[in-house]
Amino acid sequence: MRKDDRGRIHLKLVFYGPSLGGKTTALRWLYGKVEGLQKGEFTAIEDETNRTLFFDYVPMSAGGRVLFDVFTVAGQKRHRHQRKVVLQGTDGLLFVADSSPDQRDENVESFEELKLFLGDALGREIPIVVMLNKRDLPNRMSRDEMLDLLGLGGNVPIYETIAIQGVGVKRAFQAIAREVILKRMYK
């Protein structure tokens, strides 16, 4: 939690996960389709094929004096150092896992990397919500298989999402925003 010169509270939320998992798609959907949130401009540092090179960024608020600075990281492996930079000062994480079976290893690798970067803070000081994305794929992995893969027990909120249609995205966002605020209020 940080404050700007007008005394407004800023909370930083980051979408993390393997490349092509749907992070940018989910943020763009929130940006374009969710009426109740006030948003600033959408900043994207990406290549011609719309893969993120560094980050996407949108400031959002639900009204009042609390602002969410929402970022996505660049998921491709070679952008590891950029991800580390974007993670600085994160208050909450949305991990976007890809349900396609051929992304099994990529999901695991990305989640392991996140644990490595944040250590014990992950899930304790820094709350996390997991989105199992691309639930529209006919050959999607089962929910249980994915939770096993990521080693997730019952204490992390899980949302099944279809980012291209916006299914579940708003709920997942509300969930992480809520967790982050509660953490600030009752720590």
């Binding site: 940080r2 010169d5 800023h10 009204g63 009042g64 580390k84």
Partner: protein, 155 residues
Amino acid sequence: MSEPKVFDKILTDIIRQEKGIRKVILVDKTGLTIANVSKLSYYPVDVDSIGAIASAVFCASEEQGKNLQIGELEIVTSEFSEGKIFASACGKGVLCVVSEAEVNIGLIRLLMKKQGVQLAEELDKFLAVEPSTPAKDRELDEEDLKSALAELERV
């Protein structure tokens, strides 16, 4: 918590010293814009995203320096056909100056270095809000957070 106006004052001091400077922004290393000042004639821009990029670019260079083991990063200079951007470290923050193409680079570097020291000190006080927040401020924060929570459910 240090008075936010103190940042405006230091940034204004910088912008006044060299007529080619258009904009001065102070960001922290998480991408948050803490303060900014502009020349009146300067066209409006989205300061939040400018700040987020400035911070990220500086931190990425810093990271690059670490990878290559070439010491501490002092300044990042970006030269464009119609302007320049300078970013330098100031403690927990990054000081960013946007100028016209033709400017006294030496003077700008000197200004940034000198004011950077003072900004670093003020930033330390400013960013230390959490432990030293007076009870009244904490209550206000709590109110803000509660109303955000309520708003969020209505989204």
